[in-house]
Amino acid sequence: MSNQKKRNFQIDAFKHRVVVDPKYADKTWKILEHAIHEIYNHNASGLSFEELYRNAYNMVLHKFGEKLYNGLVATMTSHLKEISKSTEAAQGDSFLEELNRKWNDHNKALQMIRDILMYMDRTYIPSVHKTPVHELGLNLWRDTIIHSIKIQARLQNTLLELVHRERTGEVIDRGLMRNIVKMLMDLGSSVYQEDFEKPFLEVSAEFYSCESQKFIECCDCGDYLKKAEKRLNEEIERVTHYLDSKSEVKITNVVEKEMIANHMLRLVHMENSGLVNMLLDDKFEDLGRMYNLFRRVPDGLSTIREVMTSHLRETGKQLVTDPERLKDPVEFVQCLLDEKDKYDSIISNAFNNDKTFQNALNSSFEYFINLNARSPEFISLFVDDKLRKGLKGVSEEDVEIILDKVMMLFRYLQEKDVFEKYYKQHLAKRLLSGKTVSDDAERSLIVKLKTECGYQFTSKLEGMFTDMKTSQDTMQGFYASHPELGDGPTLVVQVLTTGSWPTQPGVTCNLPAEMSALCEKFRSYYLGTHTGRRLSWQTNMGTADIKAMFGKGQKHELNVSTYQMCVLMLFNNADRLGYKEIEQATEIPTADLKRCLQSMACVKGKNVLRKEPMSKDIGEEDAFFVNDKFTSKFYKVKIGTVVAQKESEPEKQETRQRVEEDRKPQIEAAIVRIMKSRRVLDHNNIIAEVTKQLQSRFLANPTEIKKRIESLIERDFLERDSVDRKLYRYLA
């Protein structure tokens, strides 16, 4: 064998013929490509799904997946480029419509293409980590159309222009807007955000910045708020109509910032229409609007609250310090109640019953009510007035409402013990003169005070009611055991427990003989049934009904005080009496006597006495006669004493002093209670704790506390620490 022959010997590689027709792949692809063209040209009715699906399947099966995929990308891209051109060519308003139409076409085509290429989508694409057909279609649309130079800016401007037109009152095609915005969202949230939302927010900020500037120059506060609210609602509505719901927070933030936050102070303080004016005029609607709008921005509510508080404190301060107001306590308290009612209804109607506003209201009231030291007295007087006469013909519920309101004011008082003092005085007068209108109302108020301040606060007040009840029983007993007294004058004694009542010891007068005999009988009866007691007459607090006959035979029944009765009885035995004579006979204290004579001689319609000389004031040298010419339409005539309802200055001082006096043991008791449990405490802490303990009754004065501590040290309840002088020790 030669070498050449050897060289001729060749082994052909085995040809592995997978595909019979080498053009198979191209042919199949042509069919599919044609189908894609037909789909885009709305000409799909002639296509056989089964055939196309099978062809695509076969291409993938025979490893032409890549050719198929690349072919798809190329074909779809070329179609999208054409679409891009025709969309660019659309004129004016038809641009969006054209884009929307093409987008719908593309979506439909994409779905059909995906159907044909389903097998590729399912098997080939995941294994080579390519983009699935649907997503590919969206990406190509985004890159070829939405992000093409000629469309991107135009689309954005068109959308923003439409929004602007809608804001300026034109009607736009919201459906179309919705479709286009939906398209941007379908292309991915980043497309929506970058290509629309971001510029939209910027343009909106600019728009509202200008508009708010314009409004604030020419509108009053209420109108401005109305406009802002309208704009805000419009934007919220816009979001529901055609934007992504996630945009709502963003766009409302823009409106809030531009229209409210940036102009907040100017709005609140706007002259003639700002917050203060709204409060003054009870503009619930405007206030509510302001509350709801300001609530949306940081510091909005606190701004309203601060302005309201300072206004409230200012007006409150004026109210309680206005000397005109101080003349009529009932009016004064009524004003406070009206003010409170006004703000309560503002808070409930306009401020959503906001707790922080309620707190601001309470602290303001507490602040200014206590600016006037007479507030406790006035509140008690108000109650007195209501319980004397004001509650007649008022239903039980209404009584409760009024009492509840009073309790509210009472809660603001720091010096509750002062109130108690006055209340006791006023209650005593009411009870003794039988002037109280409703026993239920009285008791109801006591119960309220009790729940507010505890048993201790009201125990004496309740004692007064008990005394009244017991006295009735005593009187029945007295007359039962003395049947012979039926014809003479009738005596009604109210036995008052010392300490429970604001009695003044030692003030008494000479009673007429008839009366004093009766009084003696009662005294012996009473002391006979109750041993070990002492009775003293409080003639200054009594009343009497006496029958009188005047010159022409007119008969009248006079309702007078005990003092007045004493004076009048003198005239049974005399026609003329000098002041001195009266004073001597009755021994009524000068001030009281003068007042009592004045009320009988100088008040028109009640002048049962005649005075010489005729003057307004009572002089030491005056002489008095029975006024024969006295006439009255009524049979019964009530002769009131000329009393200053309010306390006079010296009386006030006296009450004050009594209050201070009463506080001393309370402060001491508190100190001892605290020290007993703590054993050792420094000065500042004692002050703090005592103040806290007594808060419900009054505001303890630190100097007074200090004095009490010193007094307790003197009495060996406490001692100072030998090393640290600031420390106190409790001595058991």
């Binding site: 799904f49 089964e50 779905q111 159907d115 389903m118 097998y119 995941p126």
Partner: protein, 446 residues
């Protein structure tokens, strides 16, 4: 008689089938039939007179169509003996019904109802390292330096290798991706760890360990993944990079490293298990170079070992109990361990430094171990505990872990590894290169 309006007539490869569009609707929108009946495709609808011979032509095998049509009608898969399974799967794939076939083929996993479905024999020499069940019913088997990949049909895909280095562990990241950890080849930077595509076998990422901004070559050991797209692996480098590495499975970048504390062989770990509830990784080093076993729980957020156990200093008794595998049971706050005699032991995760409570269950196996036997393995699946010993897998249930089932098939020698996933259990035998597939049959008819 009225003719139902939704009657549909098919000509499949020459045979006429009649069915209803409601039946076909069971195939879902993402299938051949779903697309066919979509309004986009203006079907040449047969005229309403039933005598017309209008029908849809499909150029496919009628035999398989019949089986699949039945599947759509009843939900049951019945393959006549004369149809090769592969052919049926091929047709199902064409129609987009493969998922329907897959879910009809076997039922929801229950360790006490498992049936042996088939076994698969491989050509590679014995010495299987690990078998891992995939989420969709497939599996992968590591043999020496190659990983063989099977889909749920048990068709083999191109095998995976990382520079033909010895494979230490494999794991599924998702139904498309597999991670492989291998020994390193000294000085060459080969080996390490890689992520592969299941279907094509191509390498997608190679994971790296950086130490002081320098890329180091390393040997990767045990693997674990977390639901937060993290991959954990025990790493052995030559300098300081012993410990547990953490990578992001989406980017393939290293995101964390837990350096080994002295005397604690994290880099040698044989088993890692991520615990979702407690946000910890269990690391078990059971066949260390040194003599002791270590199990610890690592919290990566503050780089802390929150729980640890070691058999260091434990008395060596006659019936020595060495821990051979461990599995954390989060719901029970315990770690279950097994020794070479398949005794189960439990440790309380709520207290540190406790000891193993061995269960008294004794198989009287001591001293009877055959020389070829493999170490027992443990697995936990939905409240059922599995352990392998020789050629049998035991199933334990209930709060006291009562033995309820035994899975045994006397072929292939003892079981060296097993894995549960995709509602299947795979058991790899050590003597022959063969693995078993266990499935739960579909639920009973009524």
């Amino acid at each position: 008689m009225k003719i139902p309006k939704d009657k549909v007539r098919f000509n499949v490869g020459g045979r006429i089938f009649e069915t209803s569009s409601t039946t076909l609707a069971n195939s879902g929108r993402n299938s051949f039939f779903g697309a066919l009946f979509n309004e986009n495709w203006t079907l040449k609808q047969p005229n309403n007179d039933s005598s017309s011979n209008c029908e849809f032509f499909i150029d496919r095998s009628p035999d398989c169509f019949s089986v699949l049509l039945d599947l759509l009608r009843t939900g049951d898969l019945n393959i006549p003996p004369d149809i090769p399974e592969r052919q049926l799967y091929r047709e199902a794939s064409f129609y987009g019904l493969l998922d329907h076939v897959r879910s009809a083929k076997w039922g929801q996993f229950d360790g006490n109802r498992l049936r042996h479905s088939r076994y698969v024999k491989g050509q590679a020499p014995g010495d299987g390292t690990a078998i891992r069940a995939g989420p969709d019913g497939g599996c992968c088997v590591a043999h020496g330096s190659v990983v063989h990949v099977f889909d749920w049909i048990m068709e083999e895909h191109p095998p995976l290798n990382l520079d033909y280095q010895r494979v230490n562990d494999v794991g599924w990241v998702d139904s498309e991706s597999i991670i492989v950890s291998t020994c390193e080849k000294l000085g060459r930077g080969d080996g390490g760890m890689g992520l592969f595509s299941k279907s094509t076998g191509e390498l997608r990422f190679k994971f790296q360990v950086c130490h002081e901004n320098q890329v180091k070559s390393f040997a990767a050991g045990a693997l674990s993944t977390s639901s937060g797209y993290k991959i954990f692996s025990s790493c052995k480098g030559r300098s300081n990079e012993y410990g547990i590495g953490v990578w992001d499975q989406v980017t393939g970048k290293q995101i964390d490293f837990f350096y080994e504390s002295p005397g604690w062989s994290l880099g040698d770990a044989d088993k890692l298990q991520w615990l979702n509830g407690s946000n910890c990784l269990m690391v078990a080093t059971l066949f260390p170079r040194k003599d002791n076993c270590y199990i610890s729980m690592l919290d990566f957020r503050d780089k802390r070992m929150v729980w640890s156990w070691s058999d260091f200093g434990a008395p060596i008794t006659v019936d020595e109990k060495r821990v051979r595998d461990a599995v954390a049971m989060e719901d029970n706050n315990a770690i279950c361990v097994v020794n070479e005699f398949e005794d189960l032991g439990f440790m309380d995760l709520r207290m540190n430094g406790g000891s193993v409570r061995w269960s008294s269950r004794s198989r009287m196996m001591k001293g009877k171990l055959s020389e070829e036997s493999c170490c027992p393995k443990l697995a936990l699946h939905e409240g059922q505990l599995f352990s392998s010993m020789d050629d049998c897998i035991s199933v334990f249930c209930g709060p006291d872990w009562v033995l309820t089932s035994g899975l045994r098939r006397s072929y292939g020698g003892s079981i060296c590894d097993f894995s549960i996933g995709g509602d299947r259990l795979f058991a790899l035998h050590s003597e022959e290169n063969v693995f078993d597939v266990w499935e739960t049959p579909p639920p009973p008819i009524s």
